[in-house]
């Protein structure tokens, strides 16, 4: 059974939740290899993921912000324990 472009793109965008068997995945790979339109679609989806990682994995959270937040979050945690130990 040959897959059509609609099925293949749905498989790609949903991380393979549609048709997850190995044979299905192989058919998807084969289709993408042969179909330049679906190949472009797949590359665009990969580029979107890479851009999102670049967007949020850049060191936006500077060390000072993290230190301040950590201190605020942990305020009272240590003292609560010390109180319990007393």
């Amino acid at each position: 059974m040959d897959l059509n472009c609609k099925e293949v793109t749905r498989h790609i965008a949903s991380d393979g939740s549609v048709g997850s068997g190995w044979l299905y995945r192989l058919q998807v790979e084969l289709h993408v290899f042969l179909c330049h339109k679906c190949r472009r679609y797949k590359k665009q989806m990969q580029a979107i993921g890479a851009a999102a990682r670049a967007l949020w994995k850049s060191p936006k959270e500077d060390a000072a912000t993290l230190d301040r937040l950590q201190e605020q979050i942990l305020t009272g945690v240590g003292s609560k324990n010390e109180d319990a130990e007393e």
Partner: protein, 189 residues
């Protein structure tokens, strides 16, 4: 570790905060909150974690538990903020790209954008996605979590997760294509 967390041991709590603070803050920002709100939600997430530490059963990883708390906090915070969205019509938008036999009628166009532009448009487009789609996308693409872990955090089945990712990514791709193709007006959103 679960026992130490359950006992409220300050060393264990500190270790968890140190290990996951950056990830939680990043995900809060990725979910579309501005810096101040992301910090507030992060604090609130850890406050719940510390408060409920004694109930941590250790059946899931502590990270999964933390992100589950974060997701509920974000969903609460965004409930009032969600844009007046039109019904999610992305399925129809994509449907129109194919012929009845499932082959392309309007295939994807080359998108010519610079990296910085793509990142800017992604941020802009994510604003229009429902929280569940945003979180599914961010947890998968940015935090690179497994299907199993994301399903636990969002409390959805793997099939539902597939639908969330499909809709979110499709919306992003349509938006970017609209922005990146000369002559297009990017009117999908």
């Amino acid at each position: 570790m679960p026992e130490r967390i359950r006992a409220g041991e300050s060393g264990a709590i500190r270790e968890v905060v140190e290990a996951y603070l950056q990830q939680i803050l990043r995900a809060a920002r990725g979910a579309g909150l501005d810096s101040q709100r992301a910090e507030d939600i992060t604090q609130a997430t850890f406050a719940v974690f510390i408060e409920k530490a004694s109930q941590f059963e250790g059946r899931s990883h502590v990270r999964t538990w933390l992100f589950g708390i974060l997701y509920k906090k974000i969903a609460e915070a965004r409930r009032g903020l969600e844009r007046d969205r039109r019904a999610d019509d992305i399925e129809e938008v994509v449907e129109r790209r194919f012929k009845p036999d499932g082959m392309w009628s309007r295939p994807p166009q080359p998108v010519e954008l610079y990296g910085a532009e793509v990142r800017g448009f992604i941020e802009e487009c994510l604003e229009f996605l429902p929280t569940s789609q945003r979180m599914a996308f961010v947890l998968r693409e940015v935090e690179e979590m497994t299907t199993e872990e994301i399903c636990k955090i969002l409390e959805v089945t793997s099939t539902n997760l597939g639908v969330l990712l499909y809709r979110g990514r499709s919306r992003l791709r349509e938006f970017l294509e609209g922005k990146g193709v000369e002559g297009s007006h990017g009117s999908q959103l």
